[in-house]
Symmetry: D3
Subunit: 135 residues, 6 copies
């Protein structure tokens, strides 16, 4: 088995806020991230698929197809967007790095063809990243 990983980037705004809490409680738990004007990041996404190498093409997955799926399912929805205000899954879930990784997994899982989605890694900053996989 071989793994193939492709990176992509998106720039988005978000904030952390729990509607059930007071402003004080949100500030205490989420600190600067609770600023409801929002702040933003250049997110880096790494999508890893697993499969067998096709003996004819030498590919685990058609890279152009993989890029198209990532662009259509994730980048088009997230890039230059406000995650809380414009992305449906974050109307209820707080767009933490962890929740973004899970959400991207769900967006991609059924759409990858020819190989199996293996891992989604999301960097919010170069020094912070979350990874989700089913294994």
């Amino acid at each position: 088995m071989i793994l193939l990983t492709r990176k992509a980037e998106f720039s988005a705004s978000h904030y952390y806020w729990n509607e059930a809490w007071s402003a004080e409680e949100n500030a205490r738990v989420f600190g600067k991230c609770a600023n409801r004007n929002g702040h933003g990041h250049n997110y880096t996404l790494e999508v890893t698929v697993a499969g067998e190498v096709d003996a004819v093409t030498g590919f685990v997955v058609d890279l152009k197809e993989l890029k198209d799926v990532m662009d259509r399912e994730v980048i088009a929805a997230y890039d230059h967007r406000h995650l809380n205000l414009e992305v449906p899954e974050f109307r209820t879930a707080i767009p933490t790095t962890e929740n973004i990784a899970v959400a991207i997994w769900r967006r991609l899982e059924e759409k990858i063809s020819g190989a199996k989605l293996h891992r989604v890694r999301v960097y919010e900053m170069p020094d912070l990243f979350a990874e989700y996989s089913r294994d």
Copy 2:
């Protein structure tokens, strides 16, 4: 003469919008950046100062003081903020990378002591940066 450069980072939201234009004109000129929900970036700031090396300390500038000035004058005002909504100089000027570099120069110019501000470089993304200097 020697130059010393220190980097810092801030994460902020912004959008590009000219109030004097129609929504169509804003979209035509600014593309995805005209989304008024905002989007964001991890900005990297490089502040360069010029001076003579102090024979006793071996420093052009006290690094702790330089960091304090950068934190107080720039990072505290920009990090985890919405540039258009919360930073005074961007109520009128559009927070493009170019304008951010000029604005940071103005914030720092009078506050650096012991050396001369030489250049301000701002990365909006790893593949796009603006530099401002007086020379």
Copy 3:
């Protein structure tokens, strides 16, 4: 299950030396690293924790708490230090990248709360790193 990784850096000195060996044997096995004046590195530490995403906060772990534990248990002890001379675990064990990774695991294992320590990765240089985990 989701993994969350946070990076930190520390700058430290070290040397490789086995007291039971002659100077010649130390030089033969450890090469330039056997220079007892010491040399140093900017180490990069990646601490990965595993857990469930908290439905209320969207966090696997409180990032501020994780940072505080890393700062208190590792960075305060290692940064701007001579590992052989000032860090107790390297009085006997040679501070190789492998041993540093194991030592950091031991420092952190009992101190991480709310999630499980999953992996410690230490870069001595951008082109050399060691990883330790219990799985």
Copy 4:
């Protein structure tokens, strides 16, 4: 168990071409990569070995030996070479990132001594990499 990873780089040319196909079919499947004049990359190779830390040296593997094996078995054969024209395993297999990772595994597997080859990762570009392991 601990993992140790060492990086190396090689610069090489390649193209993607299936002799059994027409030029049109090659262009359709492989796009710009089907240009038989070749194009090239700065490949980054990460070789990971697994083992126990030697109590005397603090090493999983002798780093100099590992570097020598990587240089002799891989870099000498691939660096500044045209993979299709000069590297035997790519006379039949197309030198995709996936196939390069498998080929490097085969070159190294029997040659690593003192530890077990655990994973080979190959970056063709910073945003694309393949990993191969037996586990």
Copy 5:
């Protein structure tokens, strides 16, 4: 005056060969680069323009136009190409990093509108780059 820099990448093959010299002389001067099967690199290009910030848009240059010029004049001609065999200016000049920087300057100089081309920087590898400017 403000500078704005945009990066792009291209992957290409090349070799160093002076037709007036013997094979031995080429090998002596150019080493591994004299292999006429070619080898390749992921080149990084940084194009810097200088100008005044437009008071209405906040731009020194329209980024989309700059990207279009770079794509059309440079990337389309160089990416996934063999520089010696397919790019006219390298039929006579050896495609060293220095010559590539000068060639890209010539391709761009007349085509940048609204600002002045200030500097072209080309990385052949992360540890080697050439810069050309008229100042």
Copy 6:
């Protein structure tokens, strides 16, 4: 005129200490850097030379010669060394990033042949660097 830059790395120990001061004064001015056990860094050195492109070779400078000079004059003297204890110029001058840049300039200035030394840049950490030039 064209500039060519080559990077190299060295790992070294140092500390900041002024013999004319009390321990308290050293600690006040130099903070953690005043620890006389030493600490260390992976320094990155960028050496830039300026010249005309040789019409025959396409080179501003013979890269192998440049690398040899850098290795012989700087890397051999600094790498895996304690700068204060083993490098003559730092017996008197404190090995700050600024002083290291000046010292490397002096080591290289007379030794570069075929082109003119233009700039020396030294990174102590990825977020701190000093540059020295005569212009």
